[in-house]
Symmetry: C2
Subunit: 383 residues, 2 copies
C-alpha cells in the first residue's frame, strides 16, 4: 500500500474548500489541529504529541495555502505540496508565531472574515491567550468567525484514496483479531493481552496503535473506555478488544468479542443480537439516508425501537481521527453521501451493569454500504 | 510497578492548587484536557483520542472537585477519588454539557473569577463556540480568566510517585534500546525498524508507544519529527530512534543513535560532543539554577557559546505529556526545583542539512541532577 497522496488529491480538497468558502462568504480558513493540517497539506508527524508549539495553516479563498509553523517542522513541510512556508524559532515566550500569522493573514486577504472550526468535535489547538492576541492584531480589518462547518463537511466525505487507506488499516486490524487466540487465555492478565495485541497489530503492519480499549467479564464489561487492569482472564469471560490503529495517518475503529472457553447463554445471545443489529444498520446505510436512520435501524433490533437516551450512540464517522462526524444518534440528520466512512457500533446491556458492544466499519457506495472490516460471525468466537 | 496513586497524592495536588488559587484571588480552576484531568483526578483513558466529547473538571477554591463528563465516562470516573460526578448523554447536538457545566460553576461558587489554562503549551479542549456559550451563561457573576500559570506550576514539579512512574517508563525504553541490534541492520526499511521497535517497547512493558520519531543517513538525519519512510538502512548510516512511551499515563522521552557498521568520523565525533554537552547540562542542573543555565551549559560545548536562535531548544520538562514546561532556551528563566523532570537534548548540525540529536532524562534532587535514563556512552553504539 503506497503512502502519501498525489498533488491532485490536495488540490481537490482545496478546490472544494474554496467552493464552500465562496458559498459562505468567507475569505479564508485557519486550521490548527494535527488532523486538519494533515488533511490540507499531507504534513504527517507524531510530533503533535508535544503541546509546546502551535501550528497554523491558512487557506485564503484565492491564492495558495500558507503554512505558518515552528522552524522544527520546516524540513518536513517542505516535503509536502505546500510551497509557501513561513517559520519562526519556536518556542518563543514573547511571540510564539502570533505576529507572523497575523502578518500572513493581513498580507493574503487584508480584510474580511476568516473561518476557524468552532463547532462540535472541534477545538482550537493554540493557547487561548494567543488566540485573543491574534484577534486583536488583525481586527477590525479581519474578523475570525466559525468556519460554517466547512472543514467538517469536507473531511466527512472521503476520496477513493482515503477509503483505501482506511480499508488497509481495517485489514491490518482484521488479521490481528484473527490472532487473538495466540495471546488470550485463562490466566493471562488483561494488561498483558493489551500489550501483546498491540504487538500483533504492529507485526501485521500498523504504523501505530493509537487507541486500544477493552474489558472482560462473565457478563461483559462495565465500560468501553477503560485501560487494562492486571486482572487475569478467567474461563467463561467475554473478552472485548477495540482498536484504532493507523496506517499513513488513517484509522480503523472496530472491535471483536471473544469467549474464553464456553460462553454463557446471555453473552452468546447478546452477540448474535449485536450482529443482527449491525446488519440492520448496514442495510439502512444508503446514499440519501440519514445518520439517525442507521441508529433507528439498529435500535429496533436492540430494544424494539425504544430509542432510549442512555443507549448512547450506535456509531460514527472515522478517518484521520478515531471518531469523526456524524453520530448515529436520533438527533443527527446528516445525509449519507458516497464516500462517507462510518462505524456501526451497537451495544446491549447485559447484567450487573455490564454490556457487550460490537463494531464494524463501512463505506457508503452508490449501491449501498460496503464492508471495510471482515464482518464477524453471529456466533461469538471461542478461544 | 504498581498503577494508580493513593488518595493522598490527589489531595496533595488539590491542596497545592488551592494555595495558589488563594494567592491569585481565583475562585476556581477549570480544566479540559486529557493531561490536566488525569493530573487532578487519576482518570486515565485513551478515549481522548476521540474528539467527539468535551470533558470538564471544575476545582472550586473551597469544596470538593466536580467532574462534569459524558455519561460514557461515568463508570471509569467512579473508580477514581472524585465523588461528585455529573454526566450527560453526549454527544448532544444542542447542548453538549455547556448548561450542566455552567450550572455546576454557579452552584459551587456563584460569583467570582475562575482560571482556565491559557498560556504557552496549553489549549482549550472544547469547541470554541461552546466556550463562548459557557462564558455567556455564567457572566457577569462569574468571569473566566487565565489560570495565572497555576496548572503549569503544579504539574512542573513532580512528586516522588510521579518520578517513579517516569523512571519506570525510562527503564522500559532503556531495555528496548538495548535490543535495537535485533531489528536494525543494513537492508532493513526504516518503517520496519519503527514497527519492530514499538513491538520491543511493548514487550519490555510499555502501555503504549505514543511517540516514535527518528531518521537515518550517513551524516545524520534532516529532521527529528518525521515518520519513517520505507528506505532501507545502509552500512555507514547513523540511525536515531526517539521514543515517548508511556507507563500508567507517564512518559519517558529520550533517544539513541546507532551506527550501522563503522560510523563516519564526523558522526562519531558529533556523538562524543553530544554526550559531553549532555554531561555539562547535567552538571548545571541543580536546584536554584535556571532553565536557561542548562541551555548555556550545553551550548558552550556545542557551539562555544554562540546561543544561536536556530539551535532550537536543548531540552524541556516531561511527565504526563511528552513535553512540558520549562524549555531549555536562552529566554526561559524558570527556576529549577526539587522534583522537576527534564530532558537534556543537545543537537549538532553536521553536513548536507543533516544533524545529530541526543537526549536523556533527569530529575532535580537536593544534591543536583539524577539520571532517569541509562546514560549513553560517548562512543556511538555500533550495530
Amino acid at each position: 500500500m503506497r503512502r502519501g497522496f498525489d498533488r491532485d488529491e490536495f488540490e481537490g480538497r482545496l478546490a472544494r474548500a474554496r467552493t464552500l468558502m465562496n458559498r459562505h462568504g468567507l475569505d479564508g480558513l485557519l486550521v490548527t489541529t494535527q488532523a486538519d493540517i494533515y488533511y490540507f497539506t499531507g504534513f504527517l508527524t507524531g510530533f503533535f504529541e508535544s503541546p509546546t508549539r502551535p501550528w497554523f495553516v491558512f487557506l485564503p479563498a484565492t491564492g495558495e495555502p500558507v503554512a505558518v509553523i515552528p522552524g522544527i517542522g520546516r524540513a518536513l513541510m517542505e516535503t509536502t505540496w505546500i510551497s509557501d512556508i513561513r517559520s519562526w524559532a519556536s518556542p518563543d515566550l514573547l511571540d510564539d508565531g502570533v505576529s507572523l500569522l497575523a502578518a500572513t493573514i493581513m498580507e493574503k486577504i487584508g480584510s474580511g472574515r476568516i473561518g476557524l472550526p468552532d463547532g462540535h468535535e472541534t477545538h482550537l489547538r493554540m493557547p487561548l491567550g494567543d488566540f485573543r492576541r491574534l484577534e486583536d492584531a488583525i481586527s477590525p480589518a479581519v474578523r475570525i468567525s466559525g468556519d460554517e462547518g466547512i472543514v467538517r463537511a469536507l473531511r466527512m466525505v472521503k476520496t477513493t484514496n482515503e477509503v483505501a487507506k482506511i480499508e488497509h488499516a481495517c485489514s491490518i486490524a482484521g488479521r490481528a483479531f484473527d490472532r487473538v487466540g495466540e495471546i488470550a487465555h485463562a490466566g493471562a492478565p488483561l494488561s498483558e493481552v493489551f500489550r501483546r495485541f498491540q504487538m500483533i497489530c504492529l507485526e501485521e503492519g500498523a504504523d501505530q496503535v493509537r487507541y486500544l480499549a477493552g474489558g472482560a467479564g462473565p457478563t461483559g464489561y462495565f465500560d468501553v473506555i477503560s485501560p487494562a487492569t492486571d486482572k487475569p482472564l478467567q474461563t467463561g469471560d467475554c473478552l472485548m478488544l477495540d482498536t484504532g490503529l493507523t496506517f499513513d495517518g488513517y484509522f480503523c475503529d472496530f472491535d471483536r468479542n471473544f469467549a474464553i472457553g464456553k460462553p454463557g447463554d446471555e453473552v452468546a445471545e447478546a452477540h448474535r443480537r449485536l450482529i443482527e443489529a449491525t446488519l440492520a444498520g448496514f442495510e439502512a446505510a444508503k446514499p440519501g439516508a440519514c445518520a439517525r436512520d442507521l441508529y433507528h435501524a439498529m435500535d429496533r433490533v436492540l430494544t424494539g425501537g425504544k430509542a432510549e437516551e442512555g443507549n448512547g450512540r450506535l456509531g460514527h464517522g472515522l478517518g484521520i481521527q478515531l471518531t469523526e462526524w456524524p453520530s448515529l444518534i436520533p438527533a443527527d440528520e446528516t445525509l449519507l453521501e458516497l464516500g462517507m466512512v462510518l462505524t456501526l457500533e451497537p451495544g446491549i446491556a447485559t447484567r450487573d451493569g455490564n454490556m457487550l458492544v460490537h463494531e464494524e466499519n463501512i463505506v457508503i457506495t452508490e449501491s449501498g454500504a460496503r464492508w471495510l472490516t471482515p464482518l464477524a460471525s453471529p456466533e461469538i468466537a471461542r478461544l
